[in-house]
Assembly symmetry: C2
Homo-oligomer: 280 residues x 2
């Protein structure tokens, strides 16, 4: 991945992380855990969520607006913490940017290739992510003999957002979505939507112990650390602990976002600020 | 309801109908059935759907943009075919308009008041619609002694859009959402989201025969006919039959919209056109 760099960007500038809503917080959480010295500016597009059922053109437009907002915040690098936006918009936006940008798909694809033994990988995600075939494209760039089977799971996100993380209904829906993948003999399953790690135990139970679950959030944080190191952008200054180094913006419903964020992040978030993203 | 009228608007101008996406087609379908002479311009905001989990401010902004688009199409009247937009945006937008505009909430509330015998009405809808308490406000304006109990049902819309209209999972979720309402002794239930008529038979089975289901789509078409008659705006010219009199616009995913529309409308729709609603 070739990335253009703005040499003038200080290494203590924040990393921008964006998602269609709350799901990308699972990625932010991993970055906080793995590289705690980094400042983060998170944007969740809660006024236009979800992205998974919308078109490439629309998602690219939305992503471009968010990138403009993040650049205004002087971020040193951007993580597209949404699989659909990574699938649809990343390549195009990367060409237009002078700071490093990375998505969650390439790290997830790479980790899955390393994990599979039998060469059969399953991917679950939104309609957009699965329809784009982006995971199979990246996986087959690394190893063209791997067989990738995708399955869109549009109900998982509403079930997670309704709080049914451990529930017979989620079990039933997951069984329907996943049975075909299990029967096809996969030994690795990519959780290709940022909401899915939150129902990881349900998914793991249904696919069984023989299937390795790959969480792109974890791999993305690892790759981000490597990328920042390589570019000399890793923050060298010791940060005071505390939540001030994390700033959260949304396009709507800041209170609801804050409640959700506090349920999954280790540090309580101080506040989320609403901005008008259509202006960007 | 006092409405300002543009006297110059010809009675053969179309009626504008808008919704957050496909749900409002259940309202358009009723208008087509009850007043087949009327031309309709339908707009579905598929780039920003759903509305039910977003804020009053955001929904009002979106609705205002759509109204501007419909006015550009020279509609003679507007039907807000979305309960959430009716709840949040209608009153404010009505003040700014010089053509009649009506929502689905008032007709639904009125019909429920006429239907109840024991004075206990249930309302199901999105978080936005239920949180606004708009149905109870209108119902209690007509009869202050009626007890209204609301219940947000955020999973119904994704279940309907996933096609699970007759399904054990929908049964299970509906049982959870509705059992409290049934126990509270309601004899009337308002289907306060345009998606819900599509799972009417499931809902009816769960609440039982003793509970009358009120479909605001049906009541809205009746009220629209009365409103157009009263204002001298009912189309007097016999229309050629055919689908040309119905035009469909969306903000995204025109093909998917068309497929859904063709599954619920009697007439096949010729095409849906995508427009950039953020420009309005």
């Amino acid at each position: 991945m070739e990335l253009k760099i703005d040499k003038t960007m200080p290494s203590d500038a924040p990393v921008g992380v964006f998602d269609s809503g709350v799901g990308g917080l699972t990625v932010a959480r991993e970055i906080m855990r793995q590289i705690p010295n980094e400042k983060i500016i998170y944007f969740g597009d809660t006024a236009r969520v979800p992205y998974g059922s919308k078109s490439r053109e629309t998602i690219t437009k939305y992503s471009r607006q968010i990138v403009r907002f993040l650049q205004e915040q002087k971020v040193k690098a951007i993580v597209v913490a949404c699989n659909t936006a990574s699938a649809y918009a990343l390549d195009e936006i990367e060409k237009e940017l002078d700071i490093p940008i990375m998505g969650v798909v390439k790290p997830g694809a790479k980790a899955a290739v390393e994990a599979t033994v039998n060469g059969r990988i399953g991917v679950i995600g939104t309609e957009g992510t699965i329809g784009s075939h982006i995971y199979s494209t990246y996986i087959n760039q690394i190893n063209s003999r791997i067989i990738v089977t995708g399955k869109a799971c549009p109900l998982f996100t509403p079930l997670v957002e309704e709080g049914l993380w451990q529930d017979p209904v989620t079990d039933e829906i997951a069984t329907r979505y996943l049975s075909g993948l299990v029967e096809s003999g996969i030994d690795t399953l990519i959780l290709g939507c940022t909401h899915y790690p939150l129902i990881r135990s349900t998914l793991g139970r249904i696919v069984g112990e023989g299937v390795m679950l790959v969480n792109p959030a974890y791999e993305t944080a690892r790759e981000l650390k490597k990328l920042l190191e390589k570019k000399g952008l890793l923050n060298q200054k010791g940060q005071e602990l505390g939540t001030e180094r994390y700033r959260f913006y949304v396009s709507d419903m800041a209170d609801k976002f804050q409640t959700f964020a506090n349920s999954i992040l280790k540090y309580g978030i101080l506040s989320a600020k609403t901005i008008d993203i259509e202006r960007y």
